[in-house]
């Protein structure tokens, strides 16, 4: 059993970074991820890591720095949120298409309009098409564990990875977590020996060409295949992590899904609240269950099908808008995954928690009550719903 310590989500991520001791960090502050580069800068200042910190003048330059460093053969990391992630949007595509295993800690915060510093998933959902592996955490233990697994996953796939946690809820709340011993972490992540790099002795590397139409689609197809096979690497690394710590991780987490008739699908810290609601309902004899999506990219299609196929009514919860007019991104992709399943359940969408709007056990009870009605009548009613918003 590892050492216990009390840490906020940001502290835990910074601590994991310290244990891993990467080569280069290029970061720009933005609430609520700011503490991560701050803690890390202190580690550097005190000589506790060999990492060089590049205090870039913008998030776009932060990702550019990571791309340059990674192409040069170094382990490169950064951290950001919200508008910062949005600002580096262009470069996220470049990092992924150049197949660079950059690791980014994302502390989820609502995108501006109006400006808001609290949690929702609009930032990381907004870049779901960039080709990055996306893994979400429910709590401090998970973000710490996910961060340690990040580099081995990214380096095995040659794809960049973002490790997400809910802003303020996870990043700033202090929890007791079990740490992995530093020497174990170092062995777990191993050494980074890329096959090619700009600085490799006796070799040359050219990165970032102009790819004309006869080539572009083939390059993208290769990227798409890499994302598909990322699933295998994610599960393999999770197995190794389990061997090291006894903590089990997969593409999703199922909570009391045995013989569940009603289920919610949710990402992030709200899953904890959801689990409390599920317990209450089960105590009342209601067959409620919860599926927490841990890995959103690549999309856990098989796992969701396996968990949801036996249910009657499912509420997929989106902590962001997609403005499609027919539901959020998690809903769209889950529903699409379930389309070919015979006898598939009724599925509706709840957009919730935007801009840090509070989510409570009662919120979930309300949702499950709706699901009960739907299961009884077979009528889904309105498919695309909001919950927690004041209406006349």
């Amino acid at each position: 059993m590892g050492r216990m310590d009390r840490m906020s989500g940001n502290e835990a991520v910074a601590y994991a970074m310290k244990q891993i001791n990467p080569d280069v960090m290029g970061a720009f502050p933005i609430t609520p991820s700011t503490e991560i580069p701050q803690y890390f800068a202190k580690y550097i200042a005190d000589g506790e890591v060999d990492t060089e910190f590049v205090p870039v003048e913008s998030e776009h330059s932060a990702m550019s720095t990571c791309i340059g460093a990674s192409a040069a053969g170094a382990r490169a990391i950064t951290a950001t949120s919200s508008a910062g992630l949005a600002f580096m949007w262009e470069m996220l595509y470049v990092a992924a298409s150049s197949r660079l295993p950059i690791v980014m800690a994302v502390v989820n915060r609502a995108l501006t309009g109006p400006i808001n510093i609290n949690n929702d998933h609009s930032d990381s959902m907004g870049c779901r098409d960039t080709g990055w592996i996306q893994i979400y955490a429910e709590n401090n233990q998970e973000v710490y564990d996910n961060y340690i697994q990040a580099m081995p996953i990214a380096e095995a796939c040659r794809l960049p990875i973002m490790i997400c946690q809910d802003g303020f809820i996870t990043s700033h709340a202090v929890e007791n977590i079990e740490l992995v011993a530093t020497d174990k972490v170092r062995t777990f992540v191993g050494k980074y020996e890329p096959e090619h790099s700009l600085l490799k002795e006796g070799e040359r590397l050219a990165v970032g060409p102009y790819g004309v139409s006869p080539y572009y689609m083939e390059i993208k197809k290769a990227q798409a295949e890499a994302m598909k096979s990322a699933r295998d690497h994610i599960l393999e690394v999770a197995d190794q992590f389990h061997d090291m710590t006894g903590r089990k991780y997969g593409m999703i987490e199922r909570y009391r899904m045995n013989h569940a008739e009603l289920a919610v699908v949710v990402i992030g810290s709200s899953a904890g609240t959801g689990k409390a609601a599920v317990d209450k309902l089960r105590d009342m004899g209601i067959a409620a269950g919860l599926v927490k999506v841990r890995v959103f990219r690549p999309f856990p299609k098989e796992e969701l099908i396996r968990q949801l196929r036996g249910t009657y009514a499912v509420a997929v919860m989106d902590k962001c808008e997609g403005f499609s007019g027919q539901g959020g991104p998690l809903f769209a992709e889950t529903r699409s995954a379930m389309y070919d399943v015979p006898g598939r359940p009724q599925m509706i969408n709840f957009v919730y928690g935007l801009g840090g709007r509070d989510v409570t056990v009662d919120t979930f009870i309300e949702i499950f009550t709706e699901l009960q009605k739907i299961a009884e009548t077979g009528e889904p009613g309105e498919i695309y719903r909001h919950i927690g918003v004041r209406e006349e």
Binding site: R99, R158, R204, M217, E218, I219, K221, A222, A226
Partner: protein
């Protein structure tokens, strides 16, 4: 290691390099830009004083230099811009139509 010469516009995706990287230097030499030419530089060795002033002005690095002497323009790549002819103080280069 995938080589640039084995990559072409009919290559399947599996035959390309990950991330569109290239692992060799100077693979541009596979492209013969000499085909672009309208006018061709004619080099008169007898007039050339080997001052070398033409060499650095060539945007296509097509004037070879060996043992301190400039040789014949590399017509595989020369685009016929005529800068070398203008720069030469001795009239050793003239631009003209080439018989192909």
């Amino acid at each position: 290691m995938v080589k640039a010469k084995d990559i072409n516009e009919q290559s399947p995706w599996q035959a390309l390099t990950p991330g569109a990287e290239i692992y060799e230097p100077a693979t541009s030499k596979l492209v013969k830009t000499g085909e672009w030419r309208v006018l061709t530089p004619f080099f008169d060795n007898t007039k050339c004083k080997q001052c070398m002033l033409c060499v650095p002005f060539c945007p296509d690095a097509s004037i070879p230099v060996e043992d301190g002497k400039r040789g014949e323009t590399d017509l595989d790549y020369c685009k016929g811009c005529g800068i070398c002819a203008k720069v030469c103080p001795f009239g050793a280069i003239t631009m003209g139509k080439e018989e192909r």
